[in-house]
Symmetry: C2
Subunit: 168 residues, 2 copies
């Protein structure tokens, strides 16, 4: 048994996104219990030139759907980035998970060396599939979900690493 | 070509740790340039009941060395957790990377279903090797390195996500 590209991407990303959703639900419940305007949490930043919570979630979603689409060789679906509530962010995560889980292993497997080109503001980055997954996608998704966690934790939401990891 | 357990662990973890070291070096330089006591950054927390920067780095190191040792079936080396300076944390990262890179693929490969038991404060967690790597080790290492990044970023250190990802 060796690890397939499907196994290293779809279930790993879906798990990270579901755990991020659980973290957001605790943020939403905290705001309701403490009479905190949810918009304050959603707009909170750890530094003035860091992205706020909402954008962290959007980028985690974009990275996950972009990964699976690119590895499978289909167009990356575009979501409008118009979420203004916890409920809308949770719906976006659900939509992202449903999208990535709609792929069959056969559509992803064998993409280890598939060329992947990302167009960034600073130019193009060229990867092979395996490198893209391990050096760009997974660290990015965890970076943004950990930053979302850190924002809520900094704002007093009762969270533990177990929420992030999803272990019992 | 499929992904081996070695490919999914050793180079991925070594890369994450080297990028964490680069982030710490920017923190160290920032403290020197601004006349900030490095101990303030090393002891900084994003919430009173979160771990400070030093501990984030120690846990990232522990998780990485524990992973490779357990997958290879050797004793996990114990480090004393006595770092009090950036230089000492950077030396710990170097030592951790040297340890994990001392393994050959043949020592790690085939460990997908190897039983791994972690003794936590709250009891034992039982994993199989692949699940341990993807559901515990990688999210944990990125969680702590992203939190270390967030602490330094919150403290005004000039960092960008490129430093975390190590992409050029």
């Amino acid at each position: 048994m060796q690890i397939s590209m499907y196994r290293a991407s779809v279930p790993v990303l879906a798990r990270a996104l579901r755990n991020l959703a659980a973290v957001l639900r605790k943020g939403e419940a905290h705001a309701a219990a403490r009479n905190v305007d949810p918009a304050v949490l959603l707009g909170y930043r750890l530094a003035p030139d860091m992205f706020p919570l909402t954008r962290q979630v959007q980028i985690a979603s974009d990275t996950a759907k972009g990964c699976v689409a690119r590895l499978a060789g289909v167009d990356v679906p575009s979501y409008p980035d118009d979420e203004t509530t916890f409920a809308q962010l949770l719906a976006r995560i659900d939509r992202t998970v449903a999208f990535i889980e709609s792929f069959e292993p056969a559509q992803i497997d064998g993409s280890e060396q598939k060329p992947v080109t990302l167009k960034m503001r600073t130019g193009e980055i060229n990867f092979q599939g395996l490198q893209y997954l391990f050096e760009f996608v997974l660290p990015n998704v965890y970076f943004h979900s950990a930053t979302a966690y850190a924002i809520l934790r900094h704002c007093g939401v009762e969270l533990g690493k177990k929420d992030f990891l999803g272990v019992t």
